[in-house]
Amino acid sequence: MSAASPFAIVALALGGAALLALLEQLIAERRLAPAALAASAARTLRQPLSTPEVKDAWLYHGAPGLLLLGAILALAMVPWAPGFRGLDVGAGAILYSGALAYVTPAVFMAGWGAGRPLQVVGGFRFIALMLAFQMPLVMAVTAVGAPAESLRPSAIVDAQHAVPLALSQPLALLLFAPAAMAVAFVAPFDLPQAEGELGGGAFASYTGLDAAIVALAQKVLLLGAAGMTTTLFLGGWHGPLLPPALWTAAKTLAVAALMLLAGRLLPRTRIDRLLPFAWKVAIPLALLAIVWSGLVTLLFYR
Amino acid sequence: MIGLPVVLAVGALLFAIGLYGVLSQTNAIMVIMGVELMLGAAMLNAVGFMRYAWPDAAGGAFFVLIAMTLMAVEATVGFALVISTFRHRRTAELDDLTELRG
């Protein structure tokens, strides 16, 4: 059981974020121009921090750090290969949700610290959205934990050596993926902080290093969401010919591409429709998924 | 050297801070926050007992679980009461809520 050093995880986060930025550019603009991406990143980093107009500087400038911390901790829960299992904690799948839960205070801090009305509203909208979505997220993880008889991510991957859990628990997958997308600020669930809505949302007035950290954190969150979906539902590193790490990378990239494509193709859901759906439909379905997972465990995994 | 007395002392200090909050704050929500700190101190004590005195007592872990649940339940009912009170009296300050009627 080899835990990875923190440096490896941070390097993975940075490299994965860069790769996902390229993927997003490919999907959005249908071209691959790493130089243009690097130039825009450098341009963002050179801007000065927007200090004088900020209402609560501690919260405002602390929020990107908390966001990035939560994102990297969430990414650390994903096992990539039998030899590189990330932070293989016994309750790793729940700690993934726990790390993601710190995205909510971070967005709130960003909105409240900026002090401008639309940004405060954006922060509060994200709170409302995440309160609603956290339930299906954690319940879907519980539903996956039952057949695997463990919450350790590598054990969940090992339980899928024959059949990926997406086939036996499709409902849990359908609940987990949108919830993870909502946390990772991926359209179509990114209403509280999308450009063009609410004046840009909670992150609108970030400049310079803050904006760069927020962009990096968004990519790392997407990587973590795609990686965790692969781990919990698609069988992680299991596959016939290629080495395990390559299988995980391929599956993660495919899931991330699907998530980004969904963002491009689907219209953004309105928050007054998304919230009732989350409370009245998603939570009962998540309870149903838990019952279903219990049945599947008793019938097949024993 | 960390031992049981150290953990219990930290728990006692945290409990006292929560108690200070409960006794000195005028707003109902700050009082709820003080109670949360007190419950946190109790949980810290239970975890200290599990680690340093009785390691095979899974009942201690269950106690912590129930205490966490109680934190959430108490906050829920407290907030509902604050909403209801605010609707009738337009205030959540405990100093103004000293009479049963109007």
Binding site: K55, D56, V89, G90, A91, L95, G98, A101, Y102, P105, M109, W112, M130, Q134, S150 | I2, P5, V10, G11, L14, F15, A16, I17, Y20, L23, S24, Q25, T26, N27, A28, I29, M30, G34, E36, L37, V47, G48, M50, R51, Y52, A53, P55, D56, A58, G59, A61, F62, V64, L65, I66, M68, V73, A75, T76, V77, L81, S84, F86, R87, D95
Partner: protein, 189 residues
């Protein structure tokens, strides 16, 4: 966790918990108060992890973020000065409560230090997830059920308390039933 690792997390963690706990009640910005409480109880989760209670630490970290965010939500709704910009003093009986709190702290710490606890355990094999599961579903099943029913009652009761128009809801337009806001104190039959 090794002794050094535990000490590295516990001592700074305890200091952060106590300091942020005190500052919760001394700051005038309500958003900061809620986030400081989040810091205090979140660091408590890390302390649980250091004290070899893995599942409980993870659970504490997970739950506290959601709870404290809700608390900040409510504070901004119901407090007269959530931004803390006007410097209102929101306390009463500060000296007496400080004295009472200090007395309680001294008494509890004295009990903690003076009692003859069982000998310190070296290995510290605290219950893992499986043992907690068996405990919950076995010996403590009754308490678990009781807690579950309590949560259900709390949820239903909270929603009834917070409903607009009281228990029976707002009257339909056109009906002459007065809205049960509870102001007159009479309960409709």
């Amino acid at each position: 966790m090794s002794d050094l690792g535990t000490a590295l997390v516990f001592w700074p963690g305890a200091a952060i918990m106590l300091l942020t706990g005190v500052y919760v009640f001394r700051t005038s910005s309500m958003a900061r108060a809620g986030l400081l409480l989040l810091a205090a109880l979140g660091v408590e989760g890390l302390v649980f992890l250091a004290l070899a209670a893995e599942f409980l630490g993870v659970l504490q970290l997970l739950m506290m973020s959601g709870e404290m965010v809700i608390m900040v939500f409510f504070m901004v709704m119901f407090m007269p000065d959530p931004g803390g910009l006007m410097g209102m003093d929101m306390t009463h009986d500060k000296r007496r409560s400080a004295v009472a709190a200090a007395a309680v702290a001294v008494a509890l710490a004295a009990v903690a230090v003076a009692t003859d606890w069982p000998a310190a355990v070296v290995t510290g094999e605290t219950p893992d997830l499986r043992q907690i599961g068996f405990e919950v579903m076995g010996r403590s099943m009754f308490s678990f059920l009781f807690a579950a029913v309590t949560i259900l009652f709390a949820m239903v009761g909270a929603i009834l308390l917070a409903k607009q128009g009281g228990r029976l809801g707002l009257p339909a337009p056109g009906s002459d039933r007065p809205a049960d806001d509870g102001d007159d104190g009479e309960r409709p039959a």
